[in-house]
Every structure is written in C-alpha cells, then in structure tokens.
Symmetry: C2
Subunit: 310 residues, 2 copies
C-alpha cells in the first residue's frame, strides 16, 4: 500500500508507515501549478498508489516541519505570491486607472482655468465673460493678440490694464500647459478605446468609452459588473442619492453615470427613468457577453433601444 502527497516542494511517494520512499521535487512554481504532470509520472512507476487519506494528513505534515524545508517553503511561497499578484493585474485595473486619471485631469483643468480666467481678467476681462467653454477660452488666449480679440468681441476698448509682455507671457505659459491636458485627456480616451475594444467590445459599443470605463471603475471589475443585476448598473454612481432615499425616504434616483448616455439624454423628461432602465438592462447583457466571451450583439441592442426610445 503506497500513498502519494503533493505540496509546494514536490510530489512524494509514501509507504504504509508514511515514510518518504520517492520524491519528485518541483523546480519552480510553474511545476507546482502543473502538479498533475508530476503525479502522473509517479503513477507510471507505481500504478497502485492512492491519494493520502485525510485522517493521515497531520502525520505527513509533521514530516515537513523539519527545519531543512523552511527556506525552500519560504522561497516557493514568495514566488507563488508574486505570481498571483502579477496575474491579478488585468485590463480591469488598467482601465480603472486610466478613467480615474481622466477624472483627475478634469479637476485639474477646472482648477487651472479658474485661475487663468481670474488672472487674465486683469488684462482683458471681456474675453472670459464672452467665452464659457474652457478649451475655447484657452485657445483664444494662446492664439490671438489683445487687438484681435477686441475686434472679435466688437469692442473698441477694454476695461483691463495695459500690461507688459513679461506679465502676459506668464499667463500664456499657464494656458499652454492647461491645453496640454486636453491632449492628454484625448490620448487616454484613445487608449481606453483600444483596450476596451479587445476586452469588452459589447460594453464599449453600447456605453461608449467614458461611461463604459466609469461603469467598470464603479463595479471594480468587468467580472463583478457581469454579476450585478441590471437595476444596480442603472444606479451605479448615484450611491449618495440612493442611500439618502433609503435613509430619509427622499425620491429615489433614476440613474447614475448612465445619465450622460446619449439615449437617456435624448429621451423626453418623463421618459428618462424608463430609458435608463432599458439601457441598464442591455448594458448588463453586454457585460455578461463580454465577460463570458460571447458574441458581439451590442449593435443590435443599440438599434432596438433607439427604436423603443423616441
């Protein structure tokens, strides 16, 4: 009667007194992960061997309490952890980081534009009033001179001060750096598009880059998102309003981040809730298709929704 037993170090053949009679040591963690091959090899020479019964396990484990095994256990364990950590980095994490950085960039752009509007206001206050869009404001500041801007605004004079070039140049440097952030934002979006095209084409097609990535961020991973009911997907990003509703009985939220979706935006005011529900339904299906590597159906879904929501 012989038993076999496998741990991190290798596969061991034990006799009836539970002494090691043969061993196949693993060279790397890879071997451990494919332990079946080692076990099969052992089985070829010992076709009568059986797996170790559970009640005898404590006795065998005691064998490995020997100090000589300590370093190899430690190293193998470390390597295994490292491997596990490495494997845990999936597209999810990268998508989450990129979309989180897009939010960060939006914050930064707002902060800097506010400052520039105030600063530039000493020079040409009329421009800030006339240009609400931040990106447009920045380009105008960068590209045109005061005289041209005054002409564009059909003004003869400005309320602002005459400033030397040295002062204006500082504002221009700030405007330029801030404009760079718009390019970085676009670059990140392009990157997300590429990554999601492979990783979750259905979600990408139906939700779009930003909303799709935000859903993954809020759901923490595509897997988790695929397991969520569609009603939860509908409300992702509206947690504050949802818990306020539960606590105080205020009106429940109708939508979270999908509020920004074209289909919800286009819907009539009293149909928005319905549109959000239908969209969340299909988004949930998309997540499942993507996670379980199903076919590409998002285009059909989109058509279906577009017909229903009019």
């Amino acid at each position: 009667m012989v038993y076999f037993f496998t741990n991190l170090l290798g596969t061991f053949l034990l006799d009836e007194h539970l002494r090691i009679v043969e061993e196949l040591l693993f060279k790397s963690v890879q071997d451990y992960l494919k332990k079946e091959t080692a076990e099969k090899k052992l089985w070829k020479t010992n076709p009568s061997m059986k797996p170790l019964p559970l009640e005898k396990l404590p006795q065998v484990l005691a064998l490995f309490r020997d100090q000589k095994y300590f370093t190899s256990f430690y190293q193998k364990n470390l390597e295994l952890t490292r491997q596990a950590l490495r494997d845990s980095v999936s597209e999810d994490q990268l998508i989450i980081q990129a979309i989180a950085n897009i939010s960060e960039i939006d914050k930064v752009i707002n902060l800097l534009c506010k400052r520039l509007r105030e600063w530039y206001g000493w020079y040409l206050p009329e421009l800030s009033e006339a240009t609400i869009n931040n990106e447009q404001f920045l380009s105008l500041v960068m590209e045109k001179k005061k005289e041209e801007l005054l002409k564009d605004l059909s003004l003869k004079e400005t309320m602002g001060a005459e400033l030397d070039t040295i002062h204006v140049e500082e504002m221009l440097s700030l405007a330029q750096e801030t404009l760079h952030f718009y390019s970085l934002r676009k670059k990140h979006e392009g990157y997300l598009q590429k990554v999601m095209q492979k990783y979750c084409p259905n979600l990408l097609e139906l939700a779009g880059v930003t909303i799709g990535a935000k859903l993954i961020e809020l759901g923490r991973s595509l897997k988790h998102l695929a397991l969520l009911p569609s009603s939860t997907i509908q409300l992702l990003g509206a947690e504050k309003a949802l818990f306020r509703h539960i606590k105080t009985g205020s009106r429940p939220p109708k939508y979270g981040v999908i509020l920004g979706h074209q289909l919800v935006q286009k819907a009539a005011r009293d149909e928005k809730g319905k549109a959000a529900r239908m969209l969340a339904d299909k988004l949930s299906l998309c997540c499942r298709l993507d996670y379980f590597k199903g076919e590409f159906k998002a285009k059909e879904y989109r058509k279906e929704l577009e017909e229903k929501i009019k």
Copy 2:
C-alpha cells in the same frame, strides 16, 4: 464778480447771476485729471475770478441737470471708471495671481503624482516605495526602463506585472505632463523674482521669492502690508490657529508663512518663536522701505538677524 466752476465736462466761468459766460470743455478724461491747466488758462483772461462758494453750489448744479449734458456725463464717467480700473491693476495683483497659481500647481502635482504612483504600482511597485521625492520619481519613470530601474534598486524581480508598451506609454505621458508643471512652477518663480526685484527689493531680499509673494498675497497688497504691525506679519498665514487661540484659549501660534524661512528653520526649537518675531520685525521694516521707495537695507538686516540667531 465772476466765479469759476469745474466738473467732468469742463471748466466754466459764471457771472454774478450764475449764468455761464465762458466755458472750456474737456476733450478727454486726461484733461479733467489735469484740470488745473484749464483753470489757469481761464484765469489769465479773468484774473478777478474766484472759486464758487459752497452755498451757491446747488444752484449751479441745477444748471447741469439739463438733458443735453446727460450723454456726455455718462460717457465721461464711464471713461473715468475705466481709467480708474486700469490704474488699479498694480504689481500687487500680478504677484498675487502668480503666487496663487504656484499653490495651485503644487496641488495639481500632488494629485497627479498620487495617481501615477498608484498606476505605475501595477507595473513596478518597488520604485514608488524607494523614491519619496515626487520630481525624482517622475524623472526616473520617464528616463529609465524597467530593467535599469530594477538594477538601480538592486532587485532581481518585481512584484509588478509584465505590461505591453501600450499600457506603459499612458503612464509615461502622464509623467511627462506632470514634469512640465515643475518647469512651469520654476518659470513662475523666475517671473516673480523679476517683478519683485523692481517692486519690493527689500522684501524680496529678506523673505525670498515664495515667502515674500505669499506675504503680499495674505496682506492683499504691499501698501496694506506696510501698514500692518510686525506682530501681524509674524502671524500671517496662521489665522486658523490664531482664532482658535482667541476662541478656545489654546496655545497661540508663533508664526505663519514665515515658518518656512531659513532663519526660523535654522533656529533652535525653543528659539523659533523669538526668531520669528525678530524676522517679522525686519520684514515689516522692509515692506515700509519698499512701499515708500526707501533705500536698500535688506542685506544689513539679514546680516544682523543671522548674527543674533545662532
């Protein structure tokens, strides 16, 4: 008996019945601001004229209530306001904007570095732990490849994942944009140096660029700063702690933004309060010298302080 009377529109000569007999209309606001020249011109032909006595003013003002003056009053007033607004933009405002933007930039850099450290952590977590300085971290990320960095850290393997270039590139773009902000910060500092060299050389010499500009920001202008007692200058930037002290009787603050000054930093722990007080004293003198266009004494002050604080 003739009187003369001047308002926004011009200088007027009035007879004893307070009728206008002669007028010198102003062409622009500039003329009004130099009204003495017009009055002198009138006086040459009418050497007997006297300024209008106060009790007769209501009668004369009634003359100008005529509708025909309305538009010119409106225009002249507008121009005068515009002029006043323009003149109100002094170096103070520009310094305040630049130093406020430096604070903003610091915030932005922190925000983006935090994000990059997290993001890059999926790829090479060991670097972030080993490099505390943000600027150094960014340069390393930009300049060196994973293999070189591992060698520098004397590591064989990383806990991070193997990532394709497409993923790493996004992190590099972020690092690059963030590094740009360090250059912008330095540019702003150089600009402040130049502006303050002319505007407040004493303050600049004794306080340094950043602290000097922050004092102007907190004092709202050099003029206001010059009028503050030195004890207030000592505590500028510690308003929160000061009011907590007044309200709750907690320990009073010893210093505000001047805490960062070399002289206070170098002082022994139980001498910091004293050093801050002496420094604030001299800073207050510097502000007054600068505001009233006095001589350059900051270097002497610095020497004096350096000898006293040891």
